[in-house]
């Protein structure tokens, strides 16, 4: 696999939340505004990147039998660091993300990349993989958040451009999260199906 592909596969084709259906809880919970989505995405990307680096560095040291507890400790350490840093320097963000920052620990994306990629690959590849997956996750968070914030609060990144009597409140509430994510996922699948159909057609035509 080329280096570029390792980086970019998480953006769309193996997008962790929209295609692989991982990390659903934050995707639903913190996407009430684009700012929250960016904050959550950045925090997760940082944890993903750091844990990927450390785990790929230690892949020959950690015995197979205790690898999962080791990964959990490593991931939890970085999560706690992010938590502390956000609490100290971005208190407003910490308040709006709440419990979902410590919950990055159990985000299947992070442990999943450790298991599936970082413990088999070189440090450099793991960096690319972690970055790519993190960015892909952030993109999907922003996508969901943008739809919800525009429809529900009439604003984008806090900038209000639709008067409040035209806001469809439900989109910033719990049911709206499920509905928006459901339709975005359906749309993604639709696009992928279309692309693959076209590729098949081309291949048939070439033959």
């Amino acid at each position: 696999m080329s280096k570029v592909k390792i980086l970019t596969k998480g953006f769309f084709k193996e997008n962790p939340s929209l295609i692989l259906v991982l990390g659903m809880c934050p995707t639903l919970a913190v996407t009430t505004s684009v700012n929250n989505a960016i904050g959550m995405g950045a925090a997760t990307t940082f944890v993903l990147l750091m844990s990927n680096i450390i785990i790929s560095l230690l892949k020959n040291v950690i015995p197979d039998k205790v690898r999962i507890p080791c990964y959990i400790v490593i991931i939890a350490t970085f999560v706690s660091m992010v938590d502390l840093i956000i609490k100290g320097f971005l208190p407003a963000l910490s308040e709006s993300l709440g419990v979902f920052i410590p919950l990055i620990v159990v985000n299947c994306i992070v442990l999943g990349r450790a298991e599936a990629f970082a413990n088999k690959n070189s440090v450099f590849d793991s960096i690319l993989d972690g970055l790519g997956m993190g960015i892909g996750f952030t993109i999907s968070l922003i996508l969901v958040a943008a739809v919800r914030e525009i429809l529900g609060a009439g604003s984008f990144m806090g900038w209000q451009f639709i008067p409040s009597q035209y806001n469809i409140l439900i989109f910033v509430l719990a049911p709206g999260a499920f509905l928006v994510l459901g339709f975005i996922m359906a749309l993604m699948r639709h696009i992928i199906n279309r692309v693959e159909d076209k590729r098949k057609d081309k291949m048939c035509a070439a033959k």
């Binding site: 659903m24 999962i68 706690s80 410590p102 620990v105 499920f178 459901g182």
Partner: protein, 196 residues
């Protein structure tokens, strides 16, 4: 009375899945059959009660007195992971029949953010204002929350079993339609808002 209100609040008003967005992965993953959903619910209830009991005790008697609450996340997740392991081993020895029923779901619970999420949440503010932070309240609350989890996942499994039988449009099949169903369910549950 306070405890009755707490149960209603945890099961219906602040349903962990439909309102708090915790434990979505098992909700989407293990909800295709009613029987498996029931098994998962039972396993989660068991582990959650145990985990909250241990973590809130640790919080009260270790983390807070030693002033090391910044280690909360790391301690809690380790406790939960090892608890799940222990429960699995003990069940295997002591009650093979229960193990057969719950065994497959146990490893999945470690990464169920509902368990860690609730363990952290109960330490944040007193559940019953006049009691302060109480281990008993926390454990009780976690059981109620787990019942809410079971309720949501079983209802959902029923709906999905029925949907198996019909033709869902291609792009909607699987997770998207599950999310839309969950959205409608969440709307219905909003009728319970401010019940307590």
């Amino acid at each position: 009375m306070e405890y009755i209100l707490m149960i209603i609040g945890a099961v219906l008003v602040n349903n962990i899945i439909l309102v708090q967005f915790l434990g979505i992965c098992p909700f989407l993953g293990v909800s295709s059959k009613v029987n498996t959903a029931l098994g998962m619910g039972a396993a989660v209830t068991f582990v959650m009660a145990l985990a909250t009991l241990v973590t809130s005790s640790l919080q009260k008697y270790v983390l807070v007195p030693l002033n090391i609450t910044f280690l909360q996340t790391i301690v809690f997740i380790l406790v939960i992971a090892s608890l799940v392991q222990m429960v699995e081993i003990m069940l295997k020895k002591m009650s093979p029949s229960l193990y057969r029923a719950l065994g497959v779901y146990l490893p999945l619970i470690t990464t169920n953010c509902a368990v860690l999420g609730i363990a952290i949440k109960v330490t944040e503010q007193p559940l019953i204002a006049a009691h302060g932070f109480s281990i008993l309240d926390s454990t009780f609350y976690s059981v109620a929350i787990a019942i809410g989890f079971t309720l949501a996942i079983v209802i959902f499994a029923g709906l999905r079993e029925q949907m198996e039988l019909v033709d869902i449009p291609k792009g909607m099949k699987g997770v998207p339609i599950a999310l839309i169903t969950a959205g409608i369910l969440a709307m219905a549950f909003m009728g319970f808002s401010n019940l307590v």
